[in-house]
């Protein structure tokens, strides 16, 4: 029986959870679950995992827009049906992995994947994203779906990845470079521990929509939401003489986090020139050699320049190039910056150091100031 809107709770099923992963594992994966011995990246985007009994699974990894149509997914399925007995997986960084159990099946699969192009000429299934290279950018929704973004997501990512395409399909970096994008500080994408983070940010305090604020907003919640106490109760007389209870925003105290707008729809922040992009660098999540670390703000603001965000693309590309040239093998961006010193980082990258980059937000700020006479002289 299909769903009956007149009896919405009839035959209702809830709390099923996800499908069990065993339903979806390819046989070679299921047979060797927990018995893998080692792996090797044969070439960019192609891996082999070898089991203790000698079984092998060959994986071809392809990039893609995480925003994808069902036509595209059907095409993915067509390829998986033809080459992989109807199995595939996605990675945490929005790549797609096609797996086969025989080396002889790899070349036909690669040919099929690289042969498929979009109407505009782009690859549908670029192969790469492995090892010491630049894999897919994880990102958030941006202007396609979100109500709080300070920049787009899919468009910026497309533009940046076009520029870095050769690094996706190769492995010539000193270590893996993880780039992430979040379209506002809420960071659905949690980009704050990335080698390079592209972050949408507002720069103008919220406007108060006096026409509706007392109808759509829990004023105390809006006031409480502000981490710097920039919002306090306020009154306003409308043109018709009626008064509205609402809030006043102390612009001097606002650091544009947008948390008030999350709580109150009558406090929008979005602005065509106020909004833009912050570039952060040097974070990581791996415990390898050095502990995980946060990304640091290295560019306080770049404008939103759709459709191709040239300033952002140029900045990211420059960072990647300087890092690739200067860092030692195994050094992540943050490890490199710490070894050469952040003062040298700014010299080498040519990025201007401005007052915006010195932390002045609460206690953690103090711990980022230099409390030693040990520093390097630089030319910038």
């Amino acid at each position: 029986m299909p769903y009956d809107p007149k009896e919405p709770l009839k035959d209702r099923i809830t709390d099923l959870g996800p499908r069990h992963y065993e339903d979806f594992l390819p046989p070679v994966i299921k047979n060797n679950y927990g018995k893998w011995a080692y792996h090797e990246i044969l070439e960019p985007g192609v891996l082999v995992h070898v089991a203790e009994n000698g079984d092998k699974v060959f994986t071809v990894r392809v990039g893609g827009a995480r925003l994808m149509s069902i036509s595209h997914i059907r095409e993915i399925c067509e390829i998986a049906d033809k080459h992989c007995d109807g199995h595939l997986r996605f990675t945490t960084r929005n790549n797609i992995e096609f797996m086969v159990d025989d080396l002889a099946k790899v070349e036909p699969l690669k040919k099929e994947l690289l042969g498929r192009k979009q109407a505009g000429g782009g690859f549908k299934f670029p192969i790469g994203g492995t090892g010491a290279g630049i894999t897919n950018i994880v990102h958030t929704q941006g202007w396609i779906h979100c109500h709080t973004p300070a920049t787009d997501a899919s468009g910026v990512v497309k533009a940046v990845m076009d520029d870095l395409f050769d690094e996706f399909t190769s492995m010539r970096m000193p270590a893996q470079v993880r780039i992430s994008l979040a379209c506002c500080l809420n960071m659905c994408g949690a980009v704050h521990c990335s080698d390079i983070a592209i972050l949408g940010y507002h720069r103008k305090p919220p406007m108060v929509d006096w026409e509706v604020i007392d109808k759509v907003c829990e004023i105390p919640l809006a006031i409480a939401s502000c981490p710097t106490a920039a919002i306090k109760p306020g009154k306003f007389t409308r043109e018709d003489g009626t008064t509205a209870q609402g809030v006043q925003v102390n612009a001097d105290r606002c650091m544009f986090c947008g948390n008030c707008y999350t709580m109150c729809p009558a406090l929008p922040l979005a602005d065509d020139v106020g909004d833009g992009i912050v570039i952060m660098a040097g974070g990581k999540v791996s415990n390898r050699i050095s502990p995980p670390k946060f990304s640091k703000v290295v560019v306080a603001f770049l404008p939103n320049t759709p459709p191709r965000w040239k300033e952002t693309c140029d900045c990211v590309k420059n960072l990647v190039e300087v890092y690739a040239k200067d860092a030692r093998k195994y050094e992540r961006v943050g490890d490199w910056a710490e070894r050469i010193g952040w003062e040298r980082f700014f010299e080498k990258t040519g990025l201007p150091f401005t007052h915006h980059l010195i932390d002045d937000f609460r206690d953690p700020a103090y711990y980022t100031w230099r409390q030693t006479t040990q520093y390097r002289f630089t030319n910038s």
């Binding site: 891996l47 827009a65 996605f90 779906h145 468009g155 390898r288 050699i289």
Partner: protein
């Protein structure tokens, strides 16, 4: 196409897959409707999403209204309401609600499932998805309110498949692929993730928390799903015995017979592999030795950073006495700045039915639900009340592994029962000996 999109069109060139080309393709497929699909939302939804995006690219401000409380009966999450602020210009996306579908472990699929999901979303939604959202869910992007129950009914009845979490719920837990295809996995991430997701379905669907709560499961300290940075409770695999060494394979690496780091550096000529410079000297605790023949690892000093194993996966393997480290409180910057997960449980065995882990989870939740303020993440509560309160709530004994270093101030909140005689004193007795 319904709308002219000169700005978006510029995102069709270049080698990387273009979401603009892809949406246009879907718009054309819907317009043609060769399969005769009985579309339940406007046929022009993809045209209109391109239209609203083009307008946004011109004006550089989002055109989605704030919020929108929609959902399915009985659930307090899983659907994100979204309405366009120019519904007359773009009626196809006047409603553009998102449905989060709980992804399978490791994001493995068969095509039968995906094709069926495509058919469902063709008929009842925009035909656009995210594979996957940031938390890990399959995101069905954009449908009308009247389709929400229909989609939920079909997912549960025909797909044996539930929604994911949103709002102040347990968010859809996510995992790395773990033992299914990785030799580094110290525990079965997919099994633990699946078990806990099902155990806590009530929390996932019905908001009971002060704010969102995320579990993520990393099989080893390489942290491929970034649990340490973005989950309130992060499970990271580790071990406590010796790294297993195959000395012959080490020789093969030294002799240049095997590419280092599983071949990750093949794209550049880094010169011959130098085990001293690349492994021994980079070991963070300097617990390794190499005499030209034999590799030594002094296990008591090893902090299991994974570097040597990553460099020589054919020669070195994780230990056999494996478990998890549990870290608490990671979150993105909203509100008071980003927090990394803090180590609370250095080591716990991972064995079904995971009783010890569940007891720990529930103690943490009890504490957070009791003490947490509205919209206060666990990490923020820990900062506000201090690590000691967490220890009391979980019954854990303090051990030095929990801190990077001891405190640098003596402002200790001594408890009365820790000081002989307690805090109650007699000022008159005191003044007998100390004149005012």
């Amino acid at each position: 196409m319904k709308h002219k999109t000169p700005l978006l069109d510029q995102l069709e060139s270049g080698p990387w897959p273009s979401f603009v080309s892809d949406i246009k393709r879907e718009a054309e497929a819907r317009a043609k409707n060769e399969k005769g699909v009985d579309f339940q939302i406007p046929v022009e939804v993809c045209d209109d999403i391109l239209g609203v995006m083009e307008l946004t690219y011109e004006q550089k401000r989002t055109h989605w209204k704030h919020g929108g409380i929609v959902g399915v009966f009985g659930y307090g999450g899983g659907v994100i309401g979204r309405y366009c602020d120019q519904p007359e210009m773009f009626p196809g996306v006047a409603h553009f609600h998102t449905i989060r579908v709980n992804q399978p472990g490791g994001k493995y699929y068969n095509t039968e499932f995906l094709k069926k999901l495509c058919d469902l979303w063709d008929k009842r939604g925009s035909g656009l998805t995210n594979m996957h959202g940031s938390t890990g869910d399959i995101i069905l992007l954009g449908t009308y309110t009247h389709q929400l129950e229909e989609v939920f009914y079909e997912l549960t009845h025909d797909f044996n498949q539930d929604l994911g979490g949103s709002g102040s719920n347990l968010r859809t837990p996510s995992d790395c692929l773990g033992k299914s295809r990785c030799e580094y996995a110290c525990y079965d991430t997919m099994a633990l993730c699946y078990d806990l997701t099902n155990e806590y379905q009530d929390f996932l669907h019905r908001p009971a928390f002060p704010y969102k709560f995320k579990f993520k499961f990393d099989g080893c300290p390489n942290c491929c799903v970034a649990s340490i940075a973005r989950s309130d409770m992060s499970f990271i695999g580790t071990w406590r015995d010796d790294i297993r060494i195959d000395q012959k394979a080490v020789q093969a690496y030294v002799g240049g017979e095997v590419p280092v780091n599983g071949g990750a550096f093949k794209g550049r000529d880094w010169g011959a592999f130098d085990i001293n410079a690349e492994v021994i000297d980079l070991c963070p605790t300097k617990c390794m030795s190499w005499d030209g023949k034999k590799l030594g690892i002094y296990t008591p000093e090893c902090t299991r950073c994974m570097h040597c194993i990553n460099v020589m996966p054919k020669a070195l393997r994780i230990g056999e006495d494996c478990g998890v480290a549990i870290l608490l409180g990671a979150k993105a910057p909203i509100l008071d700045g980003a927090q990394m997960g803090s180590l609370v449980v250095p080591f716990m065995k991972v064995e079904p039915p995971y009783t010890e882990i569940k007891e720990f989870i529930e103690k943490v939740w009890d504490y957070w639900m009791e003490e947490g303020k509205n919209r206060e993440r666990l990490g923020e509560l820990m900062k506000r009340q201090g690590f000691q309160r967490l220890l009391e709530a979980t019954g854990l004994e303090p051990i030095p592994q929990m801190v990077k270093e001891p405190r640098t101030n003596p402002y200790i909140f001594w408890r009365a029962d820790e000081v002989p005689g307690g805090f109650e004193r007699d000022i008159k007795e005191y003044r007998k000996h100390h004149l005012r």
